[in-house]
Subunit: 257 residues, 2 copies
Amino acid sequence: MSTVEKAISLLNFFTEDEPEWGLSDLARQARFDKATTRRLLVALANSGLVEQHAATRRYQLGASVLRLARVRETHFPLLQVAVPVLREVAAATDETVHLSEFGARGLVTLHVEESSKANRVSVATGQILPLHATASGIAFLAFSPAPLVKSYLRKTPAAFTRHTLVQPARLDDAITAAAARGYSQGEQGFEDGVVSVAAPILGLDGYALGSIAIAMPLSRRTKATTDHHVQAVRGASEKISARLFGEQPSPRQPRVA
Amino acid sequence: MSTVEKAISLLNFFTEDEPEWGLSDLARQARFDKATTRRLLVALANSGLVEQHAATRRYQLGASVLRLARVRETHFPLLQVAVPVLREVAAATDETVHLSEFGARGLVTLHVEESSKANRVSVATGQILPLHATASGIAFLAFSPAPLVKSYLRKTPAAFTRHTLVQPARLDDAITAAAARGYSQGEQGFEDGVVSVAAPILGLDGYALGSIAIAMPLSRRTKATTDHHVQAVRGASEKISARLFGEQPSPRQPRVA
DNA sequence: AACTATCGGATCGAATAATGATCCATGGAT
DNA sequence: ATCCATGGATCATTATTCGATCCGATAGTT
């Protein structure tokens, strides 16, 4: 890990639950030397990414992250556009709805609207979704460039449950089916007892840039809810793409005959 | 500048106006070697702070800045709280209203609501305001701990216009007056033809953590507008502190008799 | 009051990672 | 067809980071 990556990795310890850190605490948690941690924090503080509370000497995220987020959202307003749509879907289905975007580190959960039910599926923002084991991942792969899909399929997929698709042939079938139908279904592939449907969000090039998914406990699934969710998720996906680009991109698929 | 600071300084080139950069361009602008710039960008990309558009090879801010901003705002919702108040003030006065926060790098403009008038004052978010030459700065100093004020006054202040207060005695007077009245007035100290009034935003410790200001062209100033602005800015400042902390902090001033 | 543990921070020689001149392949522009 | 700028890769040199150690302050504990 480069020095820069170490420094930035410290930022990821600041969360909604633990938004403030003392030096020693953070050093232990990050498994860096205390002196190293301090140097990194000072560098981050000089750059405004973190701030130090003068009285308590504790560190928290700094004001400049707000500016960065604003620039990103102005340039590429996925969240602004998608969150209201997610809310609608969550309201219409009363199940957990989540949005993910594909970046360098994989398919990252950007936003979650949770169901109001007590028995609901919880997803953490920032979580990285395994492409082969989630409905979101399959939907994404089904509308991704062939080389990306191929290179991903070369890796041996990890099994998270007894239901995770690990045989390349089965995975391939799932992707082909999703490409043909325009949506994917998850069957307890990532966590037991959780099923979901997902649709890709297409970029201007016609390839998926992320996906939107509805997840529910298996116990609640019926034919009717599934159909409803498929409709909801496809409608939402189209709405988001359309609002992002002013038009609905025409899909490009890696494996269409 | 440390390696980490160099890397992060690259982030500041991504703005609303120039949200995407090519490698060579950015290297020239930042005055880093191209190879160095690339290494830094790769490190930033691995951390999710920037992303590279696969087709154009250009870089833009990444998805993880959104997460960081959300954590910061959840923990310390200055913007969430203040922006609606700024909007009210902007609506009531139809002049440019801006919010700033004091951090490691100085008094930074966090948010701006511009007047709808053609002849208006424009302020850039992210701009660093000189403490001695702006109403915001004087308001901040008037409610800052004595050592901070003293150490700042030791530096020789830069003159931005003929009207900038540069004599320590005059500056001191301005700060004392602002401390006594609870607001400050700017008289073309930073830019010719611009006047403003500002009030501090107090933290729980009773010291200022930033300030809010209304700026207008000198040509529009009358006794009546000034009075109105003073009222508006003080009311807004109190409202923001109160909403942030559930109560209005009692001010602590460095130089009260 | 003395002791102890832990905190944030500072120091400095050794170890490592950053640097940048140089090269390469690609793709527009003239 | 040629030229130039682009993004990216290489590697010996060098500057920076690393971390064991020390320090003073604070807060419990005995």
